[in-house]
Amino acid sequence: MSARVLVGVKRVIDYAVKIRVKPDRTGVVTDGVKHSMNPFCEIAVEEAVKLKEKKLVKEVVAVSCGPQQVQETIRTALAMGADRGIHVEVSGKDYETLGPLQVSKIFAALAKKEQADLIILGKQAIDDDCNQTGQMTAALLDWPQGTFASEVTLEADKLKVVREIDGGLETIKINLPAVVTADLRLNTPRYATLPNIMKAKKKKITNVKPADLGVDVSSRLEVLKVEKLKEAGRI
């Protein structure tokens, strides 16, 4: 199988951290706060690496959009078994307003450039909870999508996806190329072991700018205010 998989990995505030709203209420405090890979992105990476171990895909490429620090997140994906990384440089104001629409445009452009056969993303990020990037990417590429995947099976050039939906589990069969978004029960991400962490240091990360991909990352959304939720009443 000569398939190439693109996996999106987002750098988010670690889920164990206590979130604090900035005093000017324009956002949350991110300076000096522990960040890590979005848990659903970890599951996406694990699934891609599993496919590679089963020899169903040839190459796994980890992609992240953001400033210099996202390289750490890409390295973690490399340590888990991805072959190479792509760092899409977005910083400053552009990074603050970067959202699913812009990211999906970037992924669509990369998918064409890298001739990807499969894109695996986390179903949503734990900071914005948007749950939109996968769906938008599929739409922009006019590819089928298997979202909320709790099981993925590759059968020749078709993908069987079991989806977690409100009523239970839905099984669909979609053609490749396709976009899949990972749900919680898809797999349990592996720990990156030392030999792999050492190997990952030698793997390549290429830098690319959104403009190089012909993508405009400006946002048409404006955050008005961010507030802390009032504590729920205690019984």
């Binding site: 951290v17 890590s36 349990t188 720990y191 072991t193 030392l194 050492m198």
Partner: protein, 516 residues
């Protein structure tokens, strides 16, 4: 009978001999005064007969109810959990649980009990592992659970002053919001009280880096047996004015006074914490890894713990935790804590490269994010919990020369053979402290007889401590001579007699039944 000149082994043998003599003379029925869970005959860890303290009367209850309205508990259902220890191995029959809120109330309680000759069992989080935190008979339980105020915190010096009933985890959370941490950390942090930690001189996971409570506790407020309040709550780093009395109470397990407030020096919260989980194929390689670690990580090393393969299988079996690396005979948890993430990662990666290429370590993983760090730590912190699912656990907390630590586990396995279901070793290898645990489906006196005094003699032979950090409590009081000479124990007895002439504070604990 003067047993002064006999070795500990001979003393225990004599003890057994006396019991057997008594049995032959017909004292066979179990003394109703002794707690039901202890095998009274021939077991130095069991309770002695009840000493002639007064019993609680209606008048006494009336006094307590006036002093502590709504905080004098006599309901047997509510008392049940305070009468049994965390391991569910010892149970008392106390009928009164008192919950004072202030030092003044504690003082009045003790003054009254001293006059009335009523025995008192001070109790914090009741997480002790040697039966020291629960009554043996009907001692009044004096709980610190309502003394949970933080009194002051100075964020320049890092000195925290708080009441003795503050839960360790709550203090940690309080300090972390202010960019500091507690100098100690242990698996029981969600329940244990700082007063209890100090009374036990708890060690824990961070001792390697921040030292023992004997260094970090700056002051104590203690109520003595007769109700006198001893206020040594200094918040000074240095104070050489007279004898350092607080050292008497640290580690005294509630037998010399009731600690009501603590002032403690807290370190700054590290900006960068990393945890590595490594696998070693032999204990010798584990020790060499430790030496390498000390050399390359030295100043940022904050914990070095180990567990063996048996522990890992119990974690997998009972708690469904996953082993993050390939199966190995030994596992190490290394924690680094420093002020600069990039520097620390560089040091850690160099160290990991070194131990991997020299094959000291066969596999491993590293974590920098809070969730992963917690997951890796739980592999070490939850071993105690996993063991409770195997039936009855015989726990030994031993200090030994570091090279000898695992020899004891292997010797024990050979010595016990099929009698024991599991013989596992884990602990603070960096501090030379082994937690040896032996399980059997249920309590087994024959197994106990095979373990003790063999384990204590083994320890004594290598000049180790029979209780590194857990204390002596009820279960180990009579073994003190394996690690301390008689002159020392005799002096301890004198100090106890001076501070608590009637012996009402936590009787039957810490000091042996026969001091000579």
């Amino acid at each position: 009978m003067n047993v002064r000149h006999y070795t500990p082994r001979q003393q225990i043998a004599l003890f057994h001999f006396v019991i057997i003599l008594q049995k032959l003379k017909g004292h066979e029925e179990v003394n109703p005064e002794t707690p039901y869970t202890s095998d009274t005959v021939g077991n130095p860890g069991a309770a002695p007969p009840r000493l002639p303290f007064s019993r609680v009367t209606q008048e006494d209850l009336a006094f307590f109810r006036t002093l502590l309205p709504g905080r004098t508990i006599t309901d047997p259902d509510l008392l049940k959990s305070s009468n049994v220890d965390w391991l569910k191995t010892v149970e008392g029959n106390s009928e009164v649980l008192l919950r004072p809120k202030t030092t003044e109330e504690v003082s009045q309680i003790l003054r009254y009990c001293n006059e009335r000759n009523l025995a008192v069992c001070p109790q914090g989080g009741n997480t002790g592992l040697v039966g020291g935190s629960v009554p043996v008979f009907d001692e009044i339980i004096l709980s610190t659970s309502l003394m949970k105020q933080v009194i002051t915190f100075d964020n320049i010096s890092g000195i925290l002053t708080c009441q003795a009933g503050c839960v360790l985890e709550n203090l940690s959370n309080y300090l972390e919001e202010r960019d500091f941490i507690m100098p100690l950390d242990l698996g029981a942090k969600g329940s244990c009280h700082i007063g209890g930690n100090v009374s036990t001189n708890a060690g824990g996971l961070r001792l390697l880096r921040y030292g023992s409570l004997r260094g970090t506790v700056l002051g104590l407020e203690v109520v003595l047996a007769d109700g006198r309040i001893l206020n040594c709550l200094a918040t000074l780093r240095k104070d050489n004015t007279g004898y350092d009395l607080k050292q008497l109470f640290i580690g005294s397990e509630g037998t010399l006074g009731v600690i009501t407030a603590v002032s403690i020096l807290c370190p700054r919260k590290p900006k960068a914490v990393n945890v590595a989980f490594l696998g070693c194929s032999s204990f010798q390689q584990l020790l060499e890894t430790f030496q390498c670690c000390r050399g390359m990580l030295g100043e940022i090393l904050s914990a070095f713990e180990f567990l063996d393969a048996s522990c890992m299988s119990l974690l997998e079996k009972h708690l469904k935790l996953t082993n993050p690396i390939t199966e190995s005979p030994f596992y190490i948890v290394i924690e680094t804590a420093g002020s600069n993430a990039t520097h620390d990662e560089e040091k850690l990666h160099k160290f990991l490269e070194e131990v991997m290429t020299s094959s000291l370590v066969t596999d491993g993983t590293v974590a920098t994010e809070a969730t992963k760090i917690k997951a890796l730590w739980s592999l070490r912190e939850r071993v105690t919990e996993a063991l409770t699912h195997e039936g009855y656990t015989y726990k030994y907390d031993i200090s030994l020369p570091v090279e000898k630590i695992y020899d004891l586990v292997q010797d024990m396995r050979g010595h016990l053979g099929d009698m024991a279901k599991n013989v596992v070793g884990y602990g603070h290898v960096g501090d030379g402290n082994l937690h040896l645990n032996i399980t059997s489906p249920s309590k087994d006196p024959a197994l106990l007889a095979a373990i003790e005094p063999y384990v204590y003699e083994w320890t004594s032979k290598w000049k180790g401590s029979i209780s590194a950090e857990h204390g002596l409590g009820l279960k180990k009081r009579n073994y003190i001579y394996y690690s301390k000479p008689s002159e020392a124990v005799a002096l301890m007895g004198s100090i106890k007699a001076m501070l608590d002439p009637k012996g009402i504070l936590n009787p039957y604990k810490t000091l042996p039944d026969n001091i000579h």
